[in-house]
Symmetry: C2
């Protein structure tokens, strides 16, 4: 324990310091010519406007929830919640800010140097700020929580009080505080994901539906008034949304692992001597992972890339450095922390391979994450058969394009789920339930690097847009396009990681949820029981299975409503001011930005609140087992929808690009085949970029809320009042 | 018990006799002019060819499975399986035959009398043959099974041997025989549903993709070579497929109720005195339901409908008569069978309302079924907001039509699942687990009427096609169109019933499955335990959740592959023989029929076998709890997919019709808005008519196979050999 807190704080500070260094390093680069500066300012302004409106609403919601939590539970949970919200909010804000500085500087670098390696470095440096902020703020907040509620209040200042808990004095406090912290992060993530997801696709679809389909002007054309809003959307959705989502997964997996560790001791009767290790391991593992990521990021940035062309290899190299360091240090850590356990103690914890078991569990998670990512690439990259076949289907028109894409997405659910299922079985066989939680942590241990790579994508995408709109030479666009294409692949892999880790984290949270039910008996194998044959649980599972579908439908509708408003506005501008299409007059970007902002803000409230409110309301009506059913049903359905939408959407997108690049002889841009593919791409947009990414935060926030509220509704609920 | 067997046999014979009467009554009507006769002969020939090829393959598969069952279990299960397959096969065959006789006679009646009431009568008489055969053959087979394996072998000849079972002698035989019977029905249903579903949509999509979209000729135009195949498809998919599917649900719900009754006595320790009642009630309830349906059918057919115009009301009237009689007689039956139970015995069975509890459980099922059907109508009928809004979305092109339809389908999952969930809770609260099984039975108790009404739809559809192809006067087509439109609504309601009852039957089978695990403990509340928190079960549930998606993807692809072949053939004929499009030459129907037949036969094998093989293979690898997880995961996912695809597809279809009928001013047939709607309809076709209807048979066959095989793989599986 003694070396824990300093390490946590040191890792967080190191990451944030390096993030600050990169922030200013990027900001101090040149912005390029006047047009570029003007466009970048538009994008930055739009993003800032959205985030400030959204954060204002978010602040109110978080405050209300904090008050409710304070009244229903206790003040310390409410405070932890606020800390979580602030940390997650900061990470999203800083990451988005730098993305809106970095985009134009990437364009300028490409224009100035004509060198892809140099340009990559600027884009990745920008992305690394988001990545390092995710890791840094998450651990900084955890340090505060541990300090204030741990040492500060003396609850965990030494093993003495822990032993006191075991005799029944203060069992719930510290895990509750951690869950409160996770809930704070979840709420910000929920709003950023949902709001950003609606924003970005409303703008994108709106721009495409009129621009490409009706006016036949290319993407990112400066004459299209919705183009700037589209670029704002990338920053709002793909940067801030993704960052706070993965921050939340990261925190949730740490919290779930700690909570499970406690439950193993308290409910299952694992040896109390292992408590400190069970509790220390996830936190320390996260800290060394973050340090490893700093080294990984630096390994790319300090090198001279000016002669390099293989962008993907560079990014992979950085990730491999971070992942390898994390795993090596993790093995040492696992051996050190659990080395003292006797064979009997290991057995009581479910460790089949002794001291290294938790580490093996984490490794299983990493392998599973990589496999799921590779499967996503297989199904969505035009290098492989499925997307090529999909592109062929466009020959028969848009209906068969859609049909085949739906079939592709549906089929693609199988393999990742088999990987997940086998991963769970192996992790459990290796290190018991703790192993399942550790496999989620494994996937997320080098999250700072994953997010850095993921954020580099939208920055490059924006850079390309700015190049197009500023009418820079073709060569610039070529460089940014290459960077962007790699970004699409990394995004597909990132999505695999996000849903895999999100699903595992949700399951680990559910386990803690079940352990937290007062009066719940634990089976002979130490497992909590959620009997799906019980009608209440079964009914919950069926309703829970429908929830993600309902939620997805609402999200798609939200995008469609906002997109249609955008379509009307763009049509209006083209009609009332024909000079715009002739390129003689500037379109009114601000009106489009306003529509996207207002549309997403007004449309996001219902779905975002739904995820928070439903488990609580259902719990108060039907009790804890019904909610348990809801959680399992919606977790399963969410995983399917996330994979289905992600892969179908990705394949449509890349199928279209494949046709544009001449994959189908005689059918380039503008051909009927391409038109059919564009319909597929447009349908896929809200699926892959709004619905899919929202799924994992949806299940995690439901699980977290349930975990926070379970002590209330397991005791007070209508059903038990009426019928028992 | 004494009055049971005669009643069962009497009901079955009565239904089959009335079916035969109606069969010949329809067949003896006139066929109309030569063109009509020729077209009808084409359709009949195509349907017969398909069914004979399919049944040949089916016979081989059933024989193989029977041998495996014989070797792994016992001969009596294998024999019961064969009986089930024969019964289900007969029902599908007879129903399809009469449909191919009735279609042209409906056209002729409309042409001759110009009277919608008279025409309705012919169509309904034709449909009633299928309905009565479903009820009749199902109960006939059950009578044989009860005779041969009950009285004949003396296992259940009196209560003495039953008491002997309770001391552990012959616990598994009779329920096993019933499950074998259900499996036989399932396998036929699986092949008919999958094969028919692929056939009908391959032909339909193929016809539409070239006919409507490229050649701009109307539906059912005689110049389109795929038209006949399309009409064959209605008979193959919507008549034979639907009939054997609902026969299977019907049998599964009866079997599940009986098996649960046994388990309540044997495993839970309910009073042995109630065994006879628990066992008699489902069988007798089914028998009186069938008699009530005969009366209901007759109530429509004996009346003079020549002045009636409100087709929907006539059909509803018949259904109400049947349902009301079933419910009244059911209440008497419930009171009589369970009236003798003491309060303590009721409590031990979970009956909260005494002797009427099982009946209330059935009533809950009926109400839930009707509500789910109404919700399906709400989401898919152009009388209501969702479909109207969807039609509006077509203004913005095909991409937004698809997007909005997907959103509609996804949103529509919520309400039916809430109904199902609440239904399960109420049924359980009323009559325990037996109540859950009874709620499935309730939905299906008047299945003969549901199927009669459902079959009347495709007959009318075919009749319209024949009218169009024979170039009969406009008035004829108007009558058949009116009948067809009502058929679409009844089909939507029927789909709600199918998935609701299928889901409940699958759950009841799962309960029996869990009870059948050797050495499984039953909780204090008498429930079997399937702990979803157990990693093996959890992994199974995740894999199980992916299975229906995978299966759906395969089905869509199967349709797309066959449809593309059809497109090529139709294009070829139009190109090589331009006289066809000028109407001067007859197209080659046979070639299209051949493509549909070969395509569906070759494409159906993998998905159909998958459902049978996967539970067994998974069980042999990972054991019974993994399979339990698979069942629950795939049941939940299947319910969602069935509702999602059914409602999205129905709404696209009706949205298109709404536009054709002038629902959107200025945008009729041939407008860009209509074109967008046609894309939606085409995408929806395989979703609503292939994927959706296959979902319930998919989960039921998996549950049935698992139930049959559980005694094998719960003892012998790789995981337990390796790690225990």
């Amino acid at each position: 324990m003694t070396f824990l807190l300093p390490l946590l704080i040191a890792a967080a500070v190191l990451a944030l310091a390096y993030a600050a260094f990169n922030f200013f390093k990027v900001k101090n680069l040149e912005e390029g010519n006047e047009t570029m500066q003007k466009i970048a300012a538009y994008i930055r302004g739009g993003a800032n406007t959205f985030i400030s409106i959204e954060y204002r609403i978010l602040a109110i919601v978080v405050a209300i929830v904090a008050v409710i939590v304070f009244l229903a539970l206790d003040w310390y949970v409410a405070v932890a919640l606020l800390i979580g919200a602030i940390m997650s909010g900061c990470a999203g804000m800083v990451g988005m800010k730098i993305a809106t500085y970095a985009n134009v500087r990437v364009t300028n670098e490409a224009n100035k140097t004509q060198n892809i390696g140099q340009t990559l470095k600027v884009a990745f440096r920008g992305g690394s700020v988001m990545g390092l902020c995710v890791g840094g703020f998450a651990l900084l907040g955890l340090s505060v929580v541990v300090c204030v509620f741990g040492f500060g209040l003396g609850w965990i200042s030494s093993l003495e009080p822990v032993k006191a808990w075991l005799t029944g004095i203060d069992l719930v406090r510290f895990p509750n505080v951690l869950t409160g912290y996770a809930l704070g992060c979840s709420m910000v993530a929920m709003f950023n994901r949902v709001g950003g997801g609606i924003y970005t696709k409303a703008a994108d679809m709106g721009a495409d539906l009129v621009g490409k389909t009706e006016a036949h002007i290319p993407e990112d054309d400066p004459r299209n008034p919705a183009t700037i809003a589209d670029n704002v959307g990338d920053n709002v959705g793909d940067v801030a949304g993704l960052g706070s989502d993965l921050l939340e997964s990261y925190v949730a997996s740490i919290v779930a692992a700690i909570a499970l560790g406690y439950n193993l001791i308290i409910k299952v009767g694992a040896p109390a001597s292992s408590l400190e290790s069970l509790y220390t391991f996830p936190l320390t593992f996260a800290a060394i992972g973050l340090v490893a990521c700093v080294i990984g990021v630096a390994s790319l940035l300090v090198r001279n890339l000016s002669k390099s062309k293989k962008v993907h290899n560079q990014l992979n190299g950085a990730t491999y450095v971070g992942a390898a360091l994390t795993m090596i240090a993790g093995a040492v850590l696992s051996a050190k922390l659990f080395g003292g356990l006797s064979a009997a103690e290991c057995k009581a914890l479910g460790f089949n391979f002794g001291a290294l078991s938790p580490w093996i569990g984490a490794a299983v998670g990493i392998v599973a994450g990589i496999l799921i990512g590779m499967l996503a690439e297989y199904y969505t990259s035009s290098d492989y058969k499925p997307t090529k076949i999909l592109a062929e289907a466009s020959k028969e028109g848009s209906a068969l394009t859609i049909t085949s894409g739906l079939a592709l997405g549906m089929r693609s659910c199988m393999a990742p789920c088999v990987v997940l299922g086998i991963g769970i079985i192996i992790a459990y066989y290796t290190a018991g339930l703790y192993g399942v939680a550790m496999s989620a942590m494994g996937m997320l241990s080098f999250v700072a690097l994953t997010v850095s790579v993921d954020t580099y994508g939208p920055i490059s995408d924006n850079a390309g847009g700015i190049a197009e709109m500023s009418k820079l030479p073709e060569g610039v666009r070529e460089i940014t396009d290459t960077l962007d294409a790699v970004g699409n692949t990394t995004a597909a892999i990132g999505k695999g990681f996000a849903i895999g880790s999100g699903g595992l984290a949700a399951l680990a949270l559910m386990l803690s949820y079940m352990y937290s039910l007062p009066g719940e008996s634990v089976g002979a194998n130490g497992l909590p029981t959620l009997n799906i044959m019980e009608p209440m649980t079964l009914a919950g599972a069926i309703v829970g299975g429908a929830l993600p579908f309902f939620f997805s439908g609402m999200l798609i509708d939200a995008v469609a409503v906002a997109a249609r408003k955008m379509v009307e506005e763009v049509r209006r501008q083209f009609k009332e001011r024909p000079a715009i299409l002739e390129g003689k007059e500037d379109p009114d970007h601000n009106q489009c930005i306003k529509i996207s902002t207002e549309g997403s803000i007004s449309q996001m409230k219902t779905p975002a609140l739904m995820a928070v409110v439903i488990p609580v309301v259902c719990g108060l009506l039907f009790g804890a087992h019904f909610v348990g059913g809801i959680l399992i049903g919606s977790t399963i359905a969410s995983i399917m929808i996330a994979i289905f939408t992600g892969n179908a959407g990705g394949a449509w997108d890349n199928g279209k690009k494949y046709i544009e690049q001449g994959g189908i002889p005689g059918s380039g841009k503008g051909s009927p085949v391409h038109d059919a593919a564009v319909v597929g791409d447009t349908v896929g947009d809200p699926l892959k970029d709004t619905v899919g990414p929202c799924m994992d935060i949806f299940i995690k926030i439901m699980s977290t809320v349930s975990l926070v509220a379970v002590s209330v509704f397991s005791t007070y609920n209508l059903w038990s009042v009426l019928f028992k």
